[in-house]
Each structure stands twice: as C-alpha cells, then as structure tokens.
Symmetry: C2
Subunit: 122 residues, 2 copies
C-alpha cells in the first residue's frame, strides 16, 4: 500500500474513532509513542489514552479539510491534517495535527502525534 | 543539542530566510528532500527552491504562533509550526507547516516539508 493510502486510511480511522469512542484509539499507540496536545507532551500508550480520555469536552466532531502525506525516514509515513473541531456546543475551531506512522509487524502505529488548535492572537 | 533547540533554531532560521531571501533556503534541502506546498508535491533541492522562488507574492512576512518539536524516527527531528503569513498587501492568513529534519554529517537538513494554509470552507 502506498504512503498516501496508509496516511489517508489512518486519519479517517483516527477521527472516526476519536469522535465515537476515544478509548478505542489505544491500539494506534505503543510504548514509544509520543503525543503533544496543545503544547502538553506525554509518552506511551497508557499516558496518551489517559490524556485523550480526560479532555474536557463530552461530544466532539472533526471535520477534515485536507490530508497531506509524505514518506518519512526509516519507512515511516508522515501525515498532516488540517480541519475543524467542534466540541460540545462551541463554535468549530480550526486545528492542525501531524502524525508519523511507524511500521511494526506489518501494521502501522502512531509514533509521533502533535495536535494544535490554530488560534492566533492578532 | 536537544531536539527542541534543533527544531526551534531551524524554524527561526527558515522563516527569517524565507522572508528576506527565499533562494537562501537552498542549503536546507538535499536531493532526497520532499516538499508539499498547498497540495503540490515536489522533490529535490532544485525543484523545491524553484517552487519557493516562483510563489506569486513579492513581499512576505511570517508571524509564528507556536513551534512544537518531537524526536522522530532514525534520529530525525519533527517540527510543527502554527502561524500567520502576510503576503504583499493581503490580510494575514493562518498557516501550518511541518518539517522533518534529518542529520547529515553533523548538520540537519529538511527531509520532509509540508505547508498548508488553514482555510476552511465553512
């Protein structure tokens, strides 16, 4: 499977799962996975899922605008996503997220994950 | 030098050079470098600098809001930047850009580069 299909499928699965069952994201991470969420860094499947599960919103919906993929170092796949996140009754907020997928036993897991809202002061 | 300093210094140098002398970005890329600019992909130092040099604006200024860094696979450094880009007399536009830096002979160059404006339809 080419890097673009790998990245696209991962992103589709990630956001669908995030929006319906955040704990279901656990299989996407391993012990060496890293996540930076709005500037807060955590490492490892358990810490990442705990962070995602305790985000303050109850209902959430991601609306993807664009997915760009490139092959990364060491057979990884780099994925950048631009979109909007609607949490609870709030107005949609623009976000950007980058994933780096690493191959493990024929499957891909998320080695790097950086999420940031695209909010600017001026 | 830790990954965060490497990523921060790279981003500062990249945007300062982009805003003053785009052709001066050439040393940051190698033959295997990839860039995706607003969905258009190109590969290699020469193609990347040609693309960057022929972007339609004359004057440009990047205003960085946030830089997040993580160590990537194979001793690379992953950098995600959120900011605003002001081109010519246009209003500032939000952008997101991800770089992946690879080590070569003790220096880092840009292996992956994905740039996207954060513009949404609704």
């Amino acid at each position: 499977m080419a890097f673009k299909e790998i990245g696209d499928q991962f992103a589709q699965f990630y956001y669908q799962t995030f929006d319906t069952n955040r704990a279901g994201l656990a299989p996407l991470y391993q012990a060496d996975s890293m996540m930076t969420w709005e500037g807060t860094a955590c490492q490892g499947q358990q810490a990442i899922i705990e962070k995602l599960s305790t985000l303050s919103f109850q209902s959430v919906a991601h609306n993807i605008t664009r997915i760009d993929c490139q092959p990364g170092p060491d057979n990884s796949v780099l994925v950048m996503v631009i979109g909007q996140l609607k949490a609870d009754q709030d107005a949609p907020l623009p976000f950007s997220q980058v994933f780096q997928l690493k191959s493990l036993n024929g499957n891909y897991y998320c080695y790097n994950d950086i999420f940031s809202l695209c909010l600017h002061n001026n």
